[in-house]
C-alpha cells in the first residue's frame, strides 16, 4: 500500500474552492480543481491513500475505477513536481 507524504518544503494556499501548491525550493507550482483540493486536504490530514479514496467515493458521484485512475494520474503529476512523496 502506497504511503503519500507532503514534503516540508511544499506549501499550499486555498483560493475559493481551488488550491495552489508551491515547491519552495524549485519554484514549481501546481493548481488543483475542487475535487483535487478535497484530495489534497485529506492528504494534509495525513489520511492514507486508501482512506482518502474512500472519502472521495462517498462524497462524489464517481465509480471506484474512474476515481482510482484519476487519483493515480494526479499523484503521478504531483510526484513528478516533487510536491508529494510516494513510498
Amino acid at each position: 500500500m502506497s504511503v503519500i507524504t507532503i514534503p516540508a518544503e511544499v506549501m499550499s494556499r486555498q483560493v475559493g474552492d481551488e488550491t495552489v501548491i508551491l515547491h519552495l525550493t524549485s519554484g514549481n507550482y501546481f493548481s488543483l480543481d475542487p475535487v483535487g483540493t478535497r484530495f489534497w486536504q485529506l492528504l494534509t490530514e495525513r489520511k492514507s491513500l486508501t482512506a482518502a479514496r474512500e472519502v472521495l467515493l462517498a462524497e462524489y458521484e464517481v465509480s471506484a475505477q474512474q476515481l482510482s485512475s484519476d487519483l493515480d494520474r494526479l499523484l503521478a503529476e504531483l510526484a513528478a513536481g516533487g510536491l508529494v512523496n510516494i513510498a
Binding site: H23, T25, S26, Y29, A80, G82
Partner: protein
C-alpha cells in the same frame, strides 16, 4: 480568502511615534532593492530603512499574535514561524513597486540557515489628513502564480494603522503615489513584515524540475 486586514494593527499614537522615528532617521533611508540587493528604479521606486529601532519589538509582537489567525483564515499550510523580517518603506511622490511576489524560490543566499517568507504583512502609516493619493496595494486574484490575468485584481486603499496580510506568493504591486507637497514627511509610509520559516532540508525523493514560469 486572498488577504486579511487588521483595521488598527497599530494605534494612532503608535503610528505617530514611528513616523517621528522615520523623520529623525530620514538620512538613513536608502533606495529600495529588488530580488535581494539590486536597485532597479523601473521596477521599484521607494526608499527604505531596515532598522526599526525600538519599534521593532512592538511590530513583531503584533504580527506574531496575528499569525495563527492568518494561517487559518488564509487557508495556508500550517507552520511555526522562526522569525520576522521587517523594513520601513517611504513611497514618495512618483514612487511605485511593479507587479511582484515576495517569495524567493530556488537557492536562498544570505542568512544561514535559509528561511522562506511565507506571509507578507504591510502596515500603513501616514500623517492625517492623508497627504498623498494613490499608493493602493493591488493584489492579483488569478490562480496562476506566475502569470495571473492582469484584469483580475483587488485594490486596497492604505489607511493609517491598518495592516494587510497575504501569502507571500500572491502577486501584488504598489500603485503609483502622488504626493503634491513632495515632502518626505508626507510620503506613503509602510512597515513591510514577512513571517519567516526556516527552510526544511530537502526531502528525499524530490526531483526539482524547471518551474513553469
Amino acid at each position: 480568502v486572498l488577504y486579511q486586514t487588521a483595521p488598527a494593527l497599530l494605534r494612532t499614537e503608535e503610528t505617530a511615534e514611528i513616523l517621528g522615528y522615520a523623520m529623525d532617521n530620514q538620512h538613513r533611508f536608502s533606495a529600495a532593492t529588488v530580488g535581494g540587493d539590486s536597485i532597479d528604479a523601473a521596477v521599484r521606486r521607494s526608499r527604505l530603512l531596515r532598522d526599526l529601532g525600538e519599534h521593532r519589538a512592538l511590530v513583531e509582537s503584533r504580527v506574531l499574535a496575528w499569525v495563527p489567525s492568518l494561517i487559518r483564515e488564509l487557508r495556508l499550510t500550517s507552520f511555526e514561524p522562526t522569525s520576522i523580517e521587517t523594513e520601513l518603506v517611504a513611497h514618495e511622490d512618483g514612487a511605485f513597486y511593479q507587479r511582484h511576489l515576495d517569495l524567493f524560490t530556488g537557492d536562498v543566499h544570505g542568512e544561514y540557515p535559509p528561511q522562506d517568507r511565507l506571509i507578507s504583512i504591510v502596515c500603513y502609516l501616514n500623517r492625517e489628513p492623508k497627504p498623498y493619493q494613490g499608493g493602493e496595494l493591488r493584489v492579483f486574484t488569478g490562480l496562476d502564480v506566475a502569470n495571473p490575468p492582469l484584469d483580475q485584481y483587488i485594490d486596497i486603499e492604505p489607511r493609517n494603522g491598518m495592516a494587510v496580510a497575504f501569502s507571500s506568493w500572491l502577486i501584488h504591486e504598489v500603485r503609483p503615489v502622488r504626493c503634491p507637497s513632495e515632502r518626505f514627511e508626507d510620503a506613503r509610509f509602510a512597515i513591510n513584515c514577512w513571517v519567516l520559516r526556516e527552510r526544511a532540508p530537502r526531502s528525499h525523493g524530490t526531483a526539482p524540475i524547471p518551474a513553469r514560469h
